[in-house]
């Protein structure tokens, strides 16, 4: 138990962040991370010794989150409306300019296919290695790389689209 406390405790803030970024609801995310920790406590001795504790825990969070998102969809709740969700759930940066950029970014993440979103978040935000990400998602590293590449290009595309849509039509002054 001592070892578990030592290894798991420092990871909790990041596990919570990953859960929030997938579920977009802090209290759902906290419940999910609590379930994760309960599972980790009971299954601590069943985990593979060769795998990393970090990817083991992220995998539990990921799988619980995916099944919760499916439940939400089945119940017809689908995604929270973006405008409500992002501002209430993700802390808004104080500056307005940064706020707008932040909004575009969150919108673009929401528009990504689920499998690309997880890869992008795990690699970029959580800083997991490609091998750890593959372990979390149960896919080959090659698949991680191709999803990552597609996710990034899609993000740029979406954000350019957003920016273009928000740019006011130029008025010609003569």
């Amino acid at each position: 138990m001592q070892l578990m406390m030592l290894l798991v405790t420092p990871l909790i803030p990041a596990l919570r962040r990953y859960a929030v970024s997938l579920l977009r609801d802090r209290s759902d995310a906290d419940d999910l991370v609590q379930d994760t920790l309960e599972l980790a406590i009971t299954r601590w001795h069943q985990r593979r010794d060769d795998g990393s504790v970090r990817s083991w825990l992220f995998a539990i969070v990921h799988n619980l989150a995916i099944s919760r998102l499916r439940q939400r969809r089945r119940r017809g709740g689908s995604h929270l409306p973006i405008d409500d969700a992002q501002e209430a759930v993700l802390a808004m940066p104080p500056r307005q300019e940064a706020g707008l950029q932040h909004r575009d970014l969150v919108r673009a993440i929401d528009a990504l296919p689920e499998d690309q979103r997880s890869v992008l978040l795990l690699v970029t935000v959580e800083g997991l290695s490609y091998a750890e990400t593959a372990e979390v998602l149960g896919i080959p590293t090659g698949t991680v790389m191709s999803r990552l590449s597609r996710a990034r290009d899609r993000m740029i595309q979406l954000m350019d689209g957003e920016a273009a849509a928000q740019r006011p039509a130029l008025r010609r002054l003569k």
Binding site: V20, D31, T124
Partner: protein, 257 residues
């Protein structure tokens, strides 16, 4: 020295700063000669730092107490609360939560008398009627067993009224606890899904008490005593909806010997 051509994977790993120094300088050389690839890689790197900036504050928040690992471990070591205790706690909390309702009842007649009957029915209604997974323990198909169970615990014959003529179909029932001993709870619903809960328990020493209406917000209850059995009906409806059911039950019980 980098004979191997620069691949898409190299560019991604360059963005994530996960290349060994040799390969990195190879990618740098490639980007120096390819302005288009350079622009793209630049944007991908900026995207990464923007994403980190958006999500970083969440990991910086204090971890809520519910995620305190030491507490979770300690909680596992303690024996689990038996289900019935949790249920009793839920019941008390519900009664407590109905503060206004309870207070009014107790001002009139205390937690005894006919208002206690209505109170008990309402507490059970609030707990069980919205329960999606198991509002009842025995289903309508076990009608005889329900009657036998209730009769056994209330120590006198108790029937399971048929209200289908009034448009309400039996879902089933369960035995519940009250401050005045065991009570039989029956649940009915109509085609619109309106649920009615009926509670039956021993009351007094065999006499009758006329029916009293209780209206609390959107929930109505009717309670009466018939030959030493206390009855109460509760639904999220007007008392007028309950009255035909009350008449039906009273008529049947009066007819039974």
């Amino acid at each position: 020295m980098n004979e191997r051509p620069i691949s898409e994977n190299d560019l991604q790993a360059f963005v994530d700063d996960r290349l060994d120094p040799d390969r990195r300088s190879g990618v740098e050389a490639y980007l120096a000669e390819n302005p288009q690839a350079r622009a793209r890689v630049g944007r991908l790197m900026a995207l990464g730092s923007d994403l980190r900036a958006v999500f970083a504050p969440i990991a910086a928040e204090p971890v809520p107490p519910q995620l305190d690992l030491a507490r979770l471990v300690a909680a596992r070591r303690r024996p689990r609360v038996p289900a019935w205790q949790a249920m009793a706690a839920a019941l008390f909390m519900t009664v407590g939560g109905l503060g206004g309702w309870v207070a009014r009842g107790s001002m009139q007649e205390g937690t005894s008398g006919i208002s206690a009957l209505a109170q008990e029915a309402k507490a059970n209604y609030v707990v069980y009627a919205p329960d999606r997974s198991r509002p009842i323990e025995l289903a309508a198909t076990d009608r005889d067993e329900i009657a036998h169970w209730f009769s056994d615990r209330l120590k006198r014959p108790v029937g399971v009224p048929d209200l289908s003529e009034a448009g309400y179909h039996l879902l089933g029932g369960r035995l519940v606890a009250t401050a005045h001993g065991p009570a039989g709870m029956l649940m009915y619903d109509d085609k619109q899904g309106t649920r009615v809960v009926m509670l039956i328990r021993s009351y007094g020493d065999g006499g009758d008490v006329p029916m009293v209406d209780h209206i609390y917000g959107s929930i109505a209850g009717c309670a009466w005593v018939q030959r030493g059995l206390g009855y109460s009906l509760v639904a999220a409806a007007d008392p007028e909806v309950l009255h035909p059911l009350v008449r039906e039950i009273r008529r049947r019980e009066a007819g039974a010997t």
